[in-house]
């Protein structure tokens, strides 16, 4: 009796595996794809080498003044000499450690929230949200407990951008959730109030709001009373973004099946407990992409404070380009700005994806 032995498997044809196979499947699968690939490659060849040449190979990296730049490529010396100003604005050099300290505290303080095994996470988180803003205000602004006052007119650069964005996010999220709940409330007074608020702030462009806060508001305030310019801007950003968050959250609330509300009621939970324990956790999870989307937009919108003469990151760069010693450096400045903004926004977007995966409890189809 002969034992039947299978012939060994033949390897797949070389044309369908490895790099070659991938190329064939993805880039040259039909004549139209081949054409598109070739056109794409041609465009890359047109764009990438000159950009690399400008940004890296022909760029000037070291020096002190404009004269040290050959002007054939980018002059990164400009960014280098102004780096401190781009990060901290006119915050006094010898006090910049306070900004650093506030940033490190934010990172270290928030770190335990990312640990899986951390007990009492909710309590810690709430405590952090209450304590940190006071601490940050004390460090950044000072004026009590032995720290010298640094008026907000000296704040600037990336620090100011982050401060406005952080305050905007921290303020707009809770306010937005409340507004969303209010808009779905059964009580007419609250509903009308919330709808009016949301529709008003959504109906006007942020740039107009900022402009009004800076140009019209001071005329209506009584003589001698002046609200800090930064405070005005931050309030406007919070109100404006809260209206958007409210609509995003409302989308989540509407996506929760009626059964969930009824089940919560059947368990004997009142409005607040059913909202906090049953509805909101599900609704917020659903709208993470929308919320993060709003936050990314907010982060970039902070650059609109340029219209009211606050020197955020972008405006600090713009101001530096007006220095006669560094005229003509705007391209370098704006490329640098784009890079930094992109890093922040990309970071937020990756974090939101991670959050979505972590909180995913299997409702996805």
């Amino acid at each position: 009796m002969t034992i039947h032995t299978f012939k060994p498997d033949l390897p797949p044809p070389t044309i369908s595996i490895g790099a070659l196979g991938w190329l064939r499947a993805n880039l040259f699968s039909s004549w139209i794809n081949t054409l598109l690939t070739l056109v794409g490659l041609y465009l890359l060849w047109l764009i990438v080498p000159p950009v690399l040449e400008w940004a890296i190979f022909k760029a000037d990296w070291t020096g002190e003044t404009r004269a040290d730049c050959s002007r054939e490529g980018a002059c990164w010396v400009f960014i280098q000499t102004r780096f401190g100003q781009f990060m901290y604005g006119f915050y006094p050099t010898e006090l910049r450690w306070r900004v650093d300290a506030a940033a490190w505290l934010a990172i270290i303080g928030a770190a335990p929230l990312f640990l899986r095994q951390m007990p009492h996470k909710l309590r810690y988180g709430l405590g952090y949200l209450l304590v940190y803003p006071l601490l940050a205000y004390w460090l950044l602004h000072g004026g009590f407990l032995g720290l010298q006052t640094v008026p907000t007119s000296q704040w600037g650069g990336l620090m100011l951008t982050v401060v406005i964005a952080a305050v905007g996010i921290a303020g707009a999220l809770p306010l937005g959730i409340l507004l969303a709940l209010g808009r779905r409330s059964d009580m007419p007074a609250i509903r009308v109030l919330c709808v009016t608020f949301i529709e008003f702030w959504r109906g006007v462009p942020l740039i107009t709001v900022l402009f009004m806060s800076s140009v019209m508001l001071p005329l209506f305030l009584p003589e001698g009373m002046s609200l800090d310019k930064l405070l005005r801007a931050m309030l406007m950003v919070v109100f404006f973004e809260a209206a958007y968050i409210a609509e995003v959250v409302r989308g989540g609330l509407q996506a929760i099946p009626k059964g969930q509300y009824e089940a919560a009621a059947a368990m004997g939970l009142g409005y607040w407990r059913s909202t906090l324990l049953v509805i909101l956790p599900q609704a917020l999870k659903l709208v993470i992409p929308g919320i993060v989307n709003t936050f990314i937009a907010l982060f970039k919108d902070t650059s609109l404070v340029i219209i009211i003469g606050l020197f955020d990151f972008l405006n600090s760069i713009k101001r530096a380009t007006a220095d006669p010693a560094w005229l003509g450096m705007s391209t370098e400045g704006y490329v640098f700005a784009a890079l930094v903004y992109w890093m922040f926004c990309f970071g937020m977007s990756r974090y939101s994806m991670r959050l979505e995966r972590k909180l995913d409890t299997g409702h996805k189809h």
């Binding site: 006119f90 001071p218 005329l219 209506f220 002046s226 009211i308 003469g309 006669p324 010693a325």
Partner: protein, 342 residues
């Protein structure tokens, strides 16, 4: 729409009236002395006029005017706090009392002077709209610009002046408007337009931005009058006089040959009665202005005379290298003229 506009206008007028009613003679000086510094509105970045260097120090002609006022009032030019203002914010900031004076390359016009609740104290820089062209074009005069593509840096009146000038001279042109000076400079460089128009003081800054500045030339024609000067709130004559005479003191100092280097020596040893009066050696002219006796000495010592300020910020001693032109003293071919201290 018309109703909305008139309501807004009325609202604006009412608020202006309210504010100017509040500004009483002497109030500003008292307030400034009480808080210990001059709050000065400057631009958010204009080469040569107000900009910040790498150390975060504000510099420029407009900034020096602020410093001179502080030197006159306090004897210390560093007692200034700056508020960088955008073009749209500037008048509100002054009207609402957010700043004590505005030194922000603002053109003195009748409507601003009369209807905005503010007063211009003088002219720190006689500017005017001009043209920057590539030498290759072979144009010697703006009158040869028929059919040109003109890059306009959007300004409050730039476009109007341009259209007036070309219409008056029966020339055709295609305008391209840009919001920032960087864009328009790049556009001129890449040949998208033949000529760039903006205030002359800015054209020199624009020229530096180009890769080959020497290939470009500023045409001689000046098509508009743009006298730039500091402004204060209406209704406080005392403060108005202080800001006005600070500028006059700098002009007189230049005329009398007093510089930051020799001012102290001149104050001690002068025989010239004009110098003696200006520097407070003779008479009580500072007191009339409610300023210390040595107010002009402090201005010149700490900030400089007008010529020095011009030179180091926009003139030969700066990157911009703008010629004095109209801004030379009256006895030197220009129109800068100050009444005497007497």
């Amino acid at each position: 729409m018309i109703r909305v506009k008139s309501t807004l206008a009325a609202l604006g007028a009412a608020s202006l009236l309210g504010i100017s009613g509040l500004a009483q003679a002497g109030a500003t000086l008292d307030a400034v002395q009480k808080k210990g510094f001059v709050q000065c509105g400057i631009s958010d970045g204009l080469p040569g006029f107000s900009y910040a260097d790498a150390k975060g120090q504000y510099l420029g002609i407009d900034v020096d005017v602020c410093r001179a006022v502080a030197a006159a009032v306090f004897g210390d030019a560093s007692k200034v706090k700056y508020s960088p203002l955008t073009a749209k914010e500037r008048f509100t900031a002054l009207q609402s009392g957010e700043v004590d004076m505005l030194s922000r390359n603002t053109t003195w016009t009748s409507s601003r002077d009369a209807a905005m609740g503010l007063n211009f104290t003088g002219v720190t820089y006689y500017d005017g709209q001009g043209f920057l062209v590539n030498k290759e074009l072979g144009v010697k005069s703006a009158k040869e610009l028929d059919g040109a593509t003109v890059c306009i840096q959007a300004g409050t009146t730039t476009e109007l002046n341009l259209s007036d000038y070309f219409r008056a001279n029966n020339l055709k042109y295609t305008p391209i408007t840009y919001d920032t000076s960087d864009e328009s400079a790049k556009s001129l460089e890449s040949g998208r337009c033949d000529v760039l128009t903006s205030d002359q003081s800015q054209l020199y800054a624009q020229r530096i931005k180009l890769a080959k500045p020497d290939d470009y030339v500023v045409l001689p024609e000046v098509i508009s009058k743009e006298p730039l000067g500091p402004a204060v709130r209406q209704g406080d004559e005392e403060w108005f006089d202080i800001v006005r005479w600070t500028l006059f003191a700098m002009l007189n100092a230049e005329e009398l040959g007093i510089t930051s280097a020799n001012v102290e020596e001149k104050a001690k040893s002068t025989k010239n009665p004009d110098v003696a009066r200006l520097l407070g050696v003779e008479g009580e002219y500072g007191k009339d202005l409610k300023l210390p006796k040595d107010w002009a000495v402090q201005i010149v010592k700490q900030v400089g005379n007008y010529g020095e300020i011009f030179d180091r910020n926009v003139g030969a001693g700066s990157e911009l290298k703008i010629e004095r032109g109209l801004n030379a003293l009256w006895n030197n071919g220009g129109v800068q003229y100050a009444p005497p201290v007497r």
